[in-house]
Symmetry: C2
Subunit: 736 residues, 2 copies
């Protein structure tokens, strides 16, 4: 097959995935919605979610329009300075960048909104299915989650492809500059992701902490009790944080990292063209084709999520994951073989054809994603040493629980950094052996190898995201079952699914971190390419290195390392502030509506949802602005080389802190569950379960971990990628 | 005055400071030792401290000998490779480096041991003085602390000067290479500091947490109650952590940063020699002269620590601090004026004489140290917003206390990073304007400016260290007063001093962090100078930049950012493990010696001290080895440029994490004290004091903060500086 024929798979797979998502949505929506009581509470959750979505996305849309116009004007103003009149820049580039930004923002919002709508309708259907069958419940939740997964990845793919085609990507004359023209798309996606993740993350944990503190602690009623006015906000929160937030996060990953890989593909394109290899532009299209194969692999895999009623649901999900991974290997093989046609040119090590080195690099990426799935399980699942250690430490009270959890969180950076380091080293080395050397002796294979590894890793994104959204759907299903006082059998099934959902949510965060760090190096290289393009046009000397021995670079690096802490501080504090408004309102309802406690009065759930929504949106502004403004200020004050240092060190620092917060939080959560499941015993062999002092200590750790793992940690992923897209787009501003 | 005459102040001030320390020691030791009960408990503390010192320093001495021999052999083996036979290297350099390492290690150990001896004898005299007068108690504690301060700084100064002279520093022919020959001294000091701080930090917090958990939590007896077998270990711990640990930390700072500044002085020396300026070697001696003036300023300042009985003791200490600072400015002016004689050559900005730019850079350093003193006070003292915020959050339980404290800890990185960034930028800019340009157009003034700023900052080290050791002395005095059931008046005074001591301990940590970060840039530059010296000798191309876009450098940077978390995780876990052995022993004594509770039996304090000592020393090995081995492994695998990246990013990441741990821990501690002082009120205006739920929540935060601020945080300072000295010494190994 010829590379240009294979390229057709991009729009085809994109459209097929959208159609498949629609099929799944129809399949889920056609299912039984359970008892009247279930439908009632599900309806309330649905209303709350819609209210949040409406308000949040209105705010984000306004911010996005302001962002698009601002970015367009800045680019138009700065790119006209000292510039010869070739290619696209000045006002035209400003307009194109603004449009790309807006399209990226709209696609991201669309996939978030639609995914959320399906998610908050799948929850009750999962609860209803749980009354009949475990397998059916798993399938409903997974299919509902897959709607999000497919929409996020296919809209990202179609958007990037569409912008690319619109900006001259099919024309051999202009294909070289097209990737640089669409970076605004990635920035738009990052911008939406930042606010979606921050707003959702603040909402979900504020609702959780706020309603628990009044309900469980002050009034002594159980979690998810219908008398607690905050309980619906809590259930809505699961969706807006895990579903909409993580969806936007991975939408951004797939968009920004695709564009970065395409920019690096330009280097390979130049070499392929000079060497007379067939179809040189295939090197630029390559990332999109790989992504398309990943979508097709996931479609097949969805049908493998099945099993027996007695099987552990995690095994069913893992089966689908392995099908996705293996089919991705096949897709990767086809793509590298067809698209990296070098007319018989061979590489250095073992003298193999060029494509084989990149195939191997892609497998390194896939293997990294598998490794992270298991690493995260080790650190956050109850059966292994770290969680047991925290549970044991809970025996001597909350202080030792927190100290132990912190030590575990810190420890997880070790295997994370080593795995990423090995993956980077291996993929860079493999690429460097492939023989992609330019006429002036520049070997671009190494960096392209890391890009291929990143693309390989991202092939499974749709499946991972489906598993992630499985989390809030089953969490909600459990809440609905509890709330509607469903049969014991159904509640047992939803409890099992909920535990699995906790694991899949943790996995996705590990995956998002790994992809962000692998991608960092490729986006960083794309930034250098872009800066050099501008410098060359302005007749200035190129940036040969990002020199840490330069004091400006060092200061920028210092500020970057600070930024990740400061941003997290703002995010964590935002949860506390928002929770306070919920506490005040829930207390007020208990006081002014005395009938709530004996079920004679229905609490005003909607009002709490409304207050939480408003407060969360208000609170997301400060960290959001800090994230956007810091790189711009540093760039304007210290210049483009310093920004490169900030980008790199910010990524490293952000990835490490996110690892600590996500895994620490996950381990605390599961240490509490470990105790609740009766695994912890005292010196005499008595079980220390729910109600024991050890359990109370573990609850403290769980509460502390909540804003770490669901607000600050995931927001840091987005921050790291935003640093990359913002600097990529605004590079012209930093060149004086 | 001529520069070579002024140089004589180095040995003179060093010796004078040693004599003054002896005078202070005699003065303190001659004082009243209080009641028999006081002397009894003080004697027990003294015995415990001696036992710890003996065992710890025996271990460290063995490790140091192994280290010295290992370093010597490695240098001898690697430096003989591909090397022409000029200057000093090969076996001779190996031997010299080994000797320098050993001398550095011995001086550091000596100052630690002697300082500790005085400190554990000042405590009872402070308690005795408190029976008569607040002012006298302040003076006894401050003078006892000053013995440590003077010994640390003067032994460091005399050691560096002695090695420098011994290795040809007075000979104009060899003065250029002498600074490079003494880097082993700094490495030896770092090596001792690492284990002294780790061992001391683990001991002090394990004893604190362990004895509290059995005594306060399980048995319900007060803190520092004589019936608790762990209480003496706790009091011993205050000395070994804060006094010996921080002393070794700042010994290392003054030694390593002096040597780094002298290496950078070589660049200025070359320019001065070529330009025919008088006395070019003054540029190399400059850092030592500045340090000597700092010692003299501190001697004067000690006599200004006085005041009235009703005055806040913190004001008395601050008075001395300001005297030190102002006299340091004068000393700095004299030194720059006399030693930077450029024969009328002037700088760029405002066309001033060269010395004025460096004088200004030195003032930037002094101002930075003042700024950190106040920043730390804001974040950790009870009267400001951060601590109040944590106290307020304690009302809703331990979880919100921890979340709030974490947010505060994270927040403190902001002002820290900005202050350091501004100081670096300003001193680099000032230096760059000074006109220190080499024949080939290299401006070495900028980096020398940052070196002068670091030297300026370190001028007040002796005073800061005296204030730091004031902390454990007054803490012990309080414990002795409590333990010996002293009069109420005396206990009120020791309580006030104890609170002041908490603040001064926190200040020292802020100061240590700031000096580590300012110094990072200068040590980094010294590393580059040294690597280029070797590369030039081997006829290889020089290292022009440390390129973050190089994948090896990126991986090393990632590992560096990981290292600071992983190291902290090991340190924090070590506290938990050691505390467990204490808990077991104290429980055993309560069980097997039933007479303890009714005072009819005396607990076996010495046994707990012994067990804690052994456990702490065993636990310090793992983090210590990780710290030493990681840079060596990275250097051998990824090369000298990657090591530079590791050094830089490791410093940034370490400084930020240490800031979080130190300030977060300090704020938690003081939030508890804020509540104990009755400042927290509920909605109805009732005081929530000791015994309230809010207080219990604050105690959790305080316990969590203990290993953060007294074990992991301070150990990170040492780690950061160890990275610098280890890479500086072992650079030849990383060049292939």
């Amino acid at each position: 097959m010829d590379a240009s024929t294979l390229q057709l798979i991009i729009p085809i797979a994109g459209v097929v995935a959208v159609l498949f998502a629609m099929y799944l949505a129809r399949d889920v929506l056609a299912r039984d919605t359970g008892t009247q009581a279930m439908q009632d509470v599900a309806g309330t959750i649905f209303e709350g979610a819609v209210a949040f979505i409406r308000r949040q996305y209105t705010t984000i849309a306004i911010l996005a329009v302001v962002g698009a116009v601002g970015v367009g004007i800045l680019i138009a103003a700065f790119e006209t300075k000292d510039v010869a009149d070739t290619d696209v820049f000045g006002t035209e580039l400003g307009i194109r960048t603004g449009i790309a930004f807006l399209v990226g923002a709209v696609c991201s919002m669309a996939s978030g909104i639609i995914g959320m709508f399906i998610s908050v309708r799948s929850n009750v259907r999962t609860a209803a299915a749980a009354r009949r069958s475990l397998v059916e419940a798993v399938q409903v939740a997974m299919r509902g989650g897959a709607v999000s997964g497919f929409l996020v990845v296919s809209l990202s793919l179609l958007g990037v492809y569409g912008m690319f085609v619109a900006f001259g990507g099919l024309n051999p004359e202009t294909v070289r500059q097209a990737p640089f023209l669409i970076v605004g798309y990635g920035f738009g996606a990052s911008f939406v992701a930042l606010f979606a993740q921050l707003g959702g993350g603040i909402y979900t944990k504020a609702a959780d902490v706020g309603s628990d503190l009044v309900g469980k602690v002050e009034k002594g009623i159980p979690e998810d009790d219908p008398r607690n006015a905050g309980v619906v906000a809590d259930l809505v929160g699961d969706n807006v944080g895990d579903c909409a937030g993580r969806g936007a996060d991975l939408f951004e990953s797939t968009a920004a990292e695709n564009i970065g890989a395409m920019i690096l593909g330009v280097g390979a394109f130049v070499i392929a063209q000079a060497a007379g290899w067939p179809n040189p532009s295939a090197w630029i299209f390559f990332p999109l084709v790989v992504r398309a194969f990943g979508l097709l692999a996931t479609i097949v895999a969805i049908f493998f999520v099945r099993g027996s009623e007695t099987e552990n649901p995690m095994n069913m999900l893992n089966r689908g994951y392995w099908v996705t991974t293996l089919l991705s290997v096949v897709g990767l093989g086809i793509t590298t073989y067809v698209m990296m046609n070098t007319n018989g040119a061979i590489g250095d090590f073992l003298k193999l054809p060029t494509w084989m080195y990149f195939f191997a690099a892609g497998i390194v990426g896939l293997a990294t994603s598998v490794a992270f799935v298991y690493i995260t399980q080790f650190y956050t699942a109850g059966s292994y040493r770290p969680v047991r250690e925290i549970a044991e430490a809970s025996k001597t009270g909350p202080a030792t629980n927190i100290i132990s959890g912190t030590a575990v969180g810190f420890e997880t950076t070790f295997v994370t950094a080593i795995t990423i380091g090995v993956a980077l080293f291996a993929s860079h080395w493999l690429g460097g052996q492939a023989g992609l050397v330019s006429a002036d002796g520049r070997n671009v294979g190494g960096i392209f190898g890391t890009a291929v590894a990143t693309m390989g890793m991202l092939m499974t994104t749709a499946y991972i995201l489906a598993m992630d959204t499985f989390g809030p759907i089953t969490d909600n299903a459990g809440g609905i079952a509890e709330f509607s006082r469903a049969e014991k059998g159904a509640r047992e099934i939803t409890d099992r699914l909920d535990a699995v959902g906790n694991t899949t949510k943790a996995l996705t965060k590990g995956y998002a971190i790994a992809s962000a760090s692998l991608a960092a190096f490729l986006l960083f290289s794309a930034y250098i390419d872009k800066v050099n393009l501008i410098l060359a046009r302005q007749g200035k000397p190129l940036m040969e290195s990002v020199n840490l021995a330069n004091v400006d670079v060092f200061i920028a690096a210092l500020i970057a390392a600070m930024l990740v802490y400061f941003f997290s501080s703002l995010a964590i504090r935002a949860v506390g502030t928002t929770a306070q408004s919920i506490i005040v309102e829930v207390r007020r309802q208990f006081r002014e509506m005395p009938g709530i406690m004996d079920y004679s009065q229905r609490p005003d759930y909607a009002r709490v949802v409304d207050i939480t929504t408003k407060a969360a949106l208000r609170q997301m502004v400060a960290p959001g602005l800090v994230a956007v403004a810091t790189p711009v200020i540093v760039g304007l004050l210290l210049g483009y080389e310093a920004v490169a240092g900030m980008l790199m060190v910010g990524t490293i620092a952000g990835v490490m802190l996110a690892t600590v917060l996500n895994n620490g939080g996950g381990a605390w959560d599961n240490a509490k569950k470990y105790i609740e499941s009766g695994h912890l015993k005292d010196a005499d062999g008595n079980v220390l379960g729910k109600g024991s002092d050890a359990h109370a200590a573990a609850v403290v750790g769980d509460t502390v971990g909540d804003p770490f793992k669901d607000t600050a940690g995931p927001s840091l992923h987005v921050l790291v990628k935003l640093l990359a897209t913002i600097t990529l787009v605004l590079a012209p501003l930093f060149i004086r």
